[in-house]
């Protein structure tokens, strides 16, 4: 079958064999209210309130929203405003106590039908754990019939191994979650896509799904951006998500593998999303590792734990090197969709020259866009050409910027250009 291409990056999966460690409970956490795509939550607690593990501390009535919970017990110290990597928002600071009591309200949800299931997903506070942070319950409430559940376990970003560790450390949860979704949403088959650089995970999941003829595990080429939704779906199912379409328009739901595993855990325990697995790596990290951290943990503590040389720190990336965001300072906190913290001593800029029309960006773009032409059209403020060349399709994967010898900021320009059309 024809596949959408990608570019070869150095994998740097240094933490692939690092068993996930539990990160100690921090002295305080700062939980942001904007961790999902869509509307921010409003705090539902006041300064001075005592909260227990799993208590809801923020929520919203908006359609595209999920509630926020605390992963620690303690006292609400402050409700403040912060600059998170994805914008300004309110945040709740909680000082942790010694006891770490679990809330009495935590009990497994009762799920009898699809509505219960979708409601439970919302109550769990779950957003996609892969990066974009799309509220999961909305994805799982499509208005059209779905016939394939696509599980994204490509993990094509360099360095990150949190999904890989999820599969190795708790494959039963992965498969349990997949089965739950298939059952409640009435999806007849599921396919798990894993990049070939994780042969152990492929083998393990293949063995575990041997008896389920409706779940298949497929090996994907280890090229970036294999895990981009459109590319993953095409390469696994041959279905092309067209312009302005959602995966559901092609009868597909795409879900990150860790998200699937979390659904299973929630259905069993009722513990909302307050903790997640992250990869800590980068050239300044002495001890690259995978950690379970509470949502809201300050990055500075994580860096210290992993032996980061703070003096040399110049670049702190929340997420992957290709699509992650730069943190403004080390007091940034872990949010629901953070799958990695990467610390580097240098920025990777290149000397910028005029475009030499080498065509590398065009060859690199998985979607056959023409980044150099788009850049020129952007500087001309030529919205007709931008539209004609489909700048709206650009997924900001960064392949074009990565390969450009002239050091042009092509991917970034495309995001700016989208505002012109």
């Amino acid at each position: 079958m024809r596949k959408i291409k990608g570019i070869h990056l150095k994998h740097n999966k240094n933490t692939a064999s690092c068993q996930t460690e539990k990160f100690p409970i921090p002295k305080e956490v700062l939980i942001p209210m904007n961790m999902n795509m869509g509307a921010n939550s409003e705090p539902v607690v006041k300064v001075g309130d005592h909260v227990n593990i799993g208590d809801k501390i923020g929520d919203s009535n908006a359609f595209l929203s999920v509630p926020v919970h605390t992963g620690v017990s303690g006292t609400v110290k402050e409700i403040t405003e912060i600059h998170a990597v994805n914008g300004k928002c309110k945040a709740i600071r909680i000082e942790t106590d010694e006891q770490q009591t679990v809330s009495k309200n935590i009990k497994p949800p009762v799920i009898n039908n699809r509505d219960d299931f979708v409601k439970a997903l919302r109550e769990s506070g779950l957003t996609g754990l892969g990066g974009a942070g799309f509220p999961t319950h909305i994805k799982h409430n499509p208005s059209v019939p779905i016939d394939i559940l696509v599980i994204n376990a490509a993990e094509c970003e360099p360095y990150i191994t949190s999904d890989h560790r999820q599969m190795l450390e708790d494959s039963d949860a992965v498969i349990g979650g997949i089965k739950l979704v298939m059952k409640h949403l009435n999806i007849p088959q599921a396919v798990i896509g894993i990049e070939g650089n994780k042969p152990d995970a492929i083998k393990l999941l293949q063995d575990k799904t041997k008896s389920d003829s409706n779940i298949t595990v497929k090996k994907l080429p280890s090229v970036y951006p294999q895990g981009a939704e459109k590319i993953l779906v095409f390469n696994l199912t041959g279905r092309l998500i067209k312009e302005k379409q959602l995966p559901s328009d092609q009868g597909v739901i795409v879900m990150n593998v860790s998200t699937a595993a979390y659904i299973h855990t929630y259905a069993k325990t009722g513990m909302p999303l307050t903790e997640r697995r992250i990869t800590v790596d980068g050239d300044l990290i002495k001890k690259p590792c995978n950690l379970f951290v509470k949502i809201g943990t300050p990055v500075s503590e994580i860096l210290e734990y992993a032996g980061c040389d703070m003096e040399k720190l110049r670049k702190l990336i929340m997420g992957g090197t290709m699509m992650g965001m730069c943190a403004y300072d080390i007091n940034t906190v872990i949010s629901k969709s953070n799958n990695a913290v990467l610390a580097f001593k240098k920025t990777a800029e290149k000397k910028m020259t005029n475009c030499i029309r080498c065509g590398r960006c065009i060859k690199a773009c998985p979607l056959n866009l023409m980044p150099t032409e788009l850049e020129k059209a952007y500087y001309r403020k030529d919205s007709t050409t931008l539209k004609k060349l489909r700048v709206g399709l650009c997924m900001n994967c960064g392949c074009c910027t990565y390969v450009c010898p002239a050091g042009r900021q092509l991917a970034q320009i495309n995001q700016l250009a989208k505002n012109l059309i």
Partner: protein
Amino acid sequence: MNLLKVSPSPHIRGEMTTQRVMLCVLISLVPTVIASGILFGLPALALISTCVVSSIFFEFVTRIIMKREQTIGDLSAAVTGLILALNIPPSLPWWMAVIGCFVAIVIVKQLFGGLGQNFANPAVVGRIVLMLSFGSAMTTWTDPKYHNTFNPLFDGYDDVIASATPLTREFPEARASYLDLLFGTTTGCLGETCAVALLIGGIYLIIRKIISPVTPIAFIGTVGLLSFIYGITDNGVMYGLEHALYQMLSGGLILGAFFMATDYVTTPITNKGKLIFGIGCGLITFIIRTFGSYPEGVSFAILLMNIVTPYIDRFTMLKPIGAVKEEKAK
């Protein structure tokens, strides 16, 4: 605490830079420069150096006068100078060569905005301007068989013999042998005679993924095919084959196809466009060589195709994956 740098993604970059691209092109031409030194002697190397140095100098000065950022570091001026040098006869007076470099760098490249902005290949235009201005000096050839450093009788270029290039000789009596064409022991421009050296460089560029093989294959292939057909109508299949091979190996075709028709800036950006470009160049070269009054058509062919490149680009835009047809405006 030091300040953290914030920049948009991606946060890593590939290794290729403009400077490296240019450096690869320079490296790929090393065999040709060496061949040129062996064939035409030290004065040839001096002439090549003159072109490279004066091109860099012109770029340096123009950037200063135009109050723009200095760009000689990207090495593109050195590449232009070198390629122009390989396109002039060994006996050309040095000051004419400098004029050629001036035209290439200042007029064709910098006045249009510098690297990436020029519509025509600077070296090609430089050569054509020299041809039109100094026609006889540009067509005075030295035969390396009699004038090279290894020849004890070598005494400089004072007694240049004005012999024809392999392309203008009468067939079949006075033609160069295939071996001469392959190793360059025949008359011609500084860098066009030794096919082997050029091919080594060209293949190096293809392997390093600096150039796409599409253009040179289409270009040389078209010349070969048309010459073959022409040869058959003239004198039968065997002659057709010979004629095709001879045409493909002689003159500036290999130099032009691998090093000038592959210039990023002035040729189409997609592979489909490159194919059209290569075929177009081959067609024009064949027509000029066969029916025109100039013996050599490579430069003109490339220049003409440079001019239509924006149109080729427009017709060979890629279709984005997942694009749906735009709805007609109401």
